[in-house]
C-alpha cells in the first residue's frame, strides 16, 4: 500500500508532467487503434467482397495483386461443371475514375452473382442486369457521389453508362462501387475472355480439400484458397497490416520517449529521496520496481484514455458521410489487448534507463549534498 502510494505520490507531485506523459501515450494508442481498426476493417470488407456467398476463391498463382490476376473463361466453365461445385462466379476487378472521383472500384459480374442477387435493390430491377452492354448498377454511395439516378447516363472512365439500378450493401467497397456485366467489364478493361477471380460455393464443405487438389492438378497457373487462408496469405493484406502496426508502433515509440523523459526527470528530481529509501533498506530491485511501477501507471492510464479516444474517433469517422461504409469500427478485443500490452511494454522500456540510473544512485553521495 505504501509502495503504491510512493508511486502515486510522485505522479501527483508533478501533475502537469504526468498528464502530458499520459496524453502522449493516449494519443499514440488512439492513433494505433484507429489506423489498425480502419485497415482491419478495409481488409475485412475486401475479404467480404470475395467471400460473398462462397467459401473458396480461385485466382492466378503468384500474383501480388488480384487486379492483375487472369483467370481464363475456359477454367470458369470447367470448374462450374464439376459435381462438387454448387456455383462458380467469375468476378473481374477494375479501377475506374470519373470527374472529382479518381478511384471507383468496378466489379464485372454475371447476373447470377450473389452480389447482384442478394443485395438490397433500392431502385431498378435485378432481372434487367446485363441486358445491355452499357448497363451499370451503382452502389448507394457511388450513386450519391456521382449524383446519378435511375435511368441517368453517367461518365465513368472513358465511357458513358446507363444506370439501371442502385443497390445497397453493408460493404463499403461495394456500396461505393460500380457493377457491370462481366462481358462489358472485360471489354472496358481490355481483358476479353478472362476474370480476376472465381468465387466458389461448394455443395459440401468437406469437399474443400478435394476441390483445391483438383484445381492444382488441372490448372497449373491457378490456385484455390479457402477464404480464411486467402485473408491470411494475401500479400496486399500482409502489407496493409504491417503498415498499420508500423505506423501505430512509431506513434507508440514517440509516446515511449515521452515516458522516458518524464521518468528521467522524475528520478533526477528525487535523487535525495531515493537515497533515503536506500538508507531505509530499499534494495536496488525495490527502487527499480518503484520507477517501473510509476511508468506502468502512466502507460496504463494512457492506454485506457487512448482506447476511449480512439473509439470516439472511429465512431466520429463512421458518421462522416464521405466515409460511410468504408470505416468498420468493430473493435476487436485482440487488437485492444495488443494495443494495451504494447503501451505497457513501451512505458516499461521508457523506464529502463531511469530505473538503471536510480539503482546506481549512491546514498552517501546523494546525502552529502543538500
Amino acid at each position: 500500500m505504501i509502495f503504491l502510494k510512493l508511486i502515486l505520490t510522485n505522479l501527483r507531485r508533478h501533475r502537469i508532467r504526468s498528464l502530458i506523459s499520459v496524453a502522449g501515450i493516449a494519443f499514440s494508442v488512439a492513433a494505433m487503434l484507429t489506423v489498425v481498426t480502419i485497415l482491419q476493417g478495409a481488409i475485412g470488407m475486401f475479404s467480404g467482397i470475395l467471400s460473398s456467398d462462397s467459401e473458396i476463391i480461385v485466382f492466378e498463382r503468384n500474383v501480388s495483386d488480384l487486379f492483375f490476376s487472369d483467370v481464363p473463361a475456359a477454367a470458369v466453365d470447367e470448374i462450374a461443371s464439376w459435381p462438387m461445385v454448387s456455383h462458380a462466379d467469375p468476378v473481374l476487378f477494375g479501377i475506374v475514375s470519373s470527374a472529382d472521383h479518381p478511384i471507383i472500384t468496378c466489379f464485372g459480374v454475371t447476373g447470377s452473382d450473389a452480389r447482384i442477387r442478394k443485395a438490397t435493390w433500392l431502385e431498378g430491377d435485378r432481372n434487367n442486369f446485363a441486358r445491355h452492354s452499357d448497363d451499370v448498377v451503382l452502389g448507394q454511395r457511388a450513386a450519391e457521389f456521382l449524383r446519378a439516378k435511375l435511368g441517368d447516363h453517367v461518365p465513368i472512365g472513358h465511357g458513358i453508362f446507363h444506370v439501371i439500378g442502385i443497390l445497397r450493401t453493408a460493404n463499403g467497397f461495394e456500396d461505393g462501387g460500380v457493377f457491370m456485366p462481366l462481358s462489358s467489364a472485360q471489354s472496358f478493361f481490355h481483358k476479353q475472355g478472362s476474370s480476376s477471380v472465381i468465387t466458389i460455393k461448394l455443395r459440401g464443405k468437406d469437399d474443400a480439400e478435394a476441390f483445391k487438389s483438383a484445381v492444382k492438378a488441372r490448372f497449373a497457373s491457378l490456385i484455390a484458397l479457402e477464404d480464411a487462408e486467402f485473408t491470411r496469405s494475401y500479400s496486399q493484406f500482409k502489407i496493409l497490416k504491417a503498415t498499420a502496426w508500423a505506423v501505430g508502433g512509431c506513434g507508440l515509440l514517440l509516446g515511449g520517449f515521452g515516458v522516458a523523459n518524464t521518468m528521467i526527470m522524475s528520478v533526477f528530481t528525487r535523487i535525495r529521496e531515493i537515497a533515503i529509501l536506500r538508507v531505509c533498506g530499499f534494495s536496488h530491485l525495490q527502487i527499480a520496481a518503484m520507477i517501473f511501477g510509476e511508468s506502468a501507471v502512466v502507460s496504463f492510464a494512457g492506454a485506457v484514455l487512448g482506447l476511449l479516444t480512439g473509439s470516439c474517433l472511429l465512431y466520429a469517422l463512421k458518421l462522416v458521410p464521405a466515409l460511410h461504409g468504408y470505416v468498420d469500427v468493430t473493435l476487436h478485443p485482440v487488437v485492444m489487448l495488443i494495443v494495451i500490452l504494447l503501451a505497457l511494454i513501451t512505458g516499461i522500456a521508457g523506464a529502463l534507463y531511469p530505473a538503471a540510473y536510480a539503482m546506481r544512485i549512491r546514498a552517501v553521495e546523494a546525502l552529502r549534498f543538500e
Binding site: 509502495f3 510512493l6 507531485r13 536506500r278 538508507v279 531505509c280 533498506g281 546525502l367
Partner: protein, 240 residues
C-alpha cells in the same frame, strides 16, 4: 602513555561486554587521496553505549558514520558490525534493514507521506508483517509523544516532531546501533534539548548503542563516551 592505558582499559572492557561495532585502522580520503579525512581510526562500540563524536566541520565525523552504516567503503581497514564486516557492496541490505538505523541533521522524511507512512517504510523494505509493524509504530509513537500526529503529513509537523519522527523511523526495525549525524543541528535550543533527552531515553530503553556526531559539547556531555576527532584520528576525552 595515557592513550595506551585508555586503549588497554577499553580492550579489557571489550572482553567483558559485547562489541557491536568495531573499526580497525580505517583510512578514507577523497579526490584520489588529495583530501585525507580518516587516518587509521580504531574504534569500538560496546552494546548499549552512547558515544558522542565531536570535532570541527570536515574532520570526518559524517564520513565515519557513513562507513559504520555501510553507505561508503574505507580505502583501507575494516569495519564490522556484530562481527560481520561491513561492506557497501555485500551484506548492505541486511545491515541497513536490521543492524543500523540512521538519523540525519535534516529529518530526510518524505514530505508527501504521513508520519505513519514514513515510519513504515523501513518495515516494508525489510518485509515485516503489517500487524507487527503497526504494533511497533504505535509503541514508538507513544514513547515519542507522536501518537496524535500519526495521520498527519510531514509538512504539518514542527521541526522537533519531524526529528522525533525520523528517530521513530530509524528504530522501527529494532536496530542494534543508531547512527545520528547532528540529530539536533537543525533545531532551536529548546527543541534540541527535548529531542536529545528523548533520544537518550529511547536508546537506553531499547538497549541500542548510539554513535552521534555533534558540534554541541553540551549535548555530547550527556553521552557515556565523548570522542574528539582530530587530524583524522579519534581521541577519547571523557568516559563516564
Amino acid at each position: 602513555m595515557n592513550h595506551s592505558i585508555e586503549q588497554a582499559g577499553s580492550r579489557q572492557l571489550s572482553n567483558q561486554l559485547r562489541v557491536v561495532l568495531r573499526a580497525e585502522d580505517v583510512w578514507k580520503s577523497y579526490d584520489d587521496g588529495a583530501i585525507a579525512v580518516l587516518k587509521g581510526v580504531d574504534f569500538e562500540v560496546i552494546e548499549g553505549q552512547t558515544i558522542a563524536l565531536c570535532g570541527p566541520s570536515g574532520c570526518g565525523k559524517s564520513t565515519l558514520l557513513h562507513l559504520f552504516g555501510g553507505l561508503d567503503s574505507p580505502d583501507h581497514g575494516r569495519v564490522s558490525v556484530n562481527g560481520v564486516e561491513v561492506n557497501c557492496h555485500r551484506n548492505l541490505l541486511r545491515l541497513l534493514r536490521h543492524e543500523v538505523g540512521f538519523v540525519f541533521q535534516l529529518h530526510n522524511l518524505i514530505p508527501d507521506l504521513t508520519l505513519e507512512e514514513n515510519c513504515l517504510i523501513p518495515t516494508m523494505a525489510a518485509g515485516l508483517d503489517r500487524r507487527s509493524a503497526q504494533a511497533r509504530l504505535h509503541e514508538l509513537a507513544e514513547r515519542t509523544g507522536l501518537t496524535h500526529r500519526l495521520g498527519h503529513r510531514i509538512q504539518k509537523l514542527s521541526g522537533g516532531e519531524r526529528q522525533r519522527t525520523a528517530l521513530c523511523r530509524a528504530l522501527m526495525n529494532r536496530p542494534k546501533i543508531l547512527l545520528a549525524d547532528e540529530p539536533t543541528g537543525s533545531l532551536d535550543e529548546k527543541s534540541s534539548g527535548g529531542v536529545f533527552d528523548l533520544l537518550l531515553e529511547i536508546v537506553a530503553t531499547e538497549g541500542v548503542s548510539l554513535v552521534m556526531a555533534t558540534h554541541d559539547r553540551g549535548l555530547a556531555g550527556g553521552c557515556y563516551r565523548l570522542l574528539e576527532m582530530r587530524d583524522g584520528r579519534i581521541h577519547e576525552t571523557v568516559s563516564a
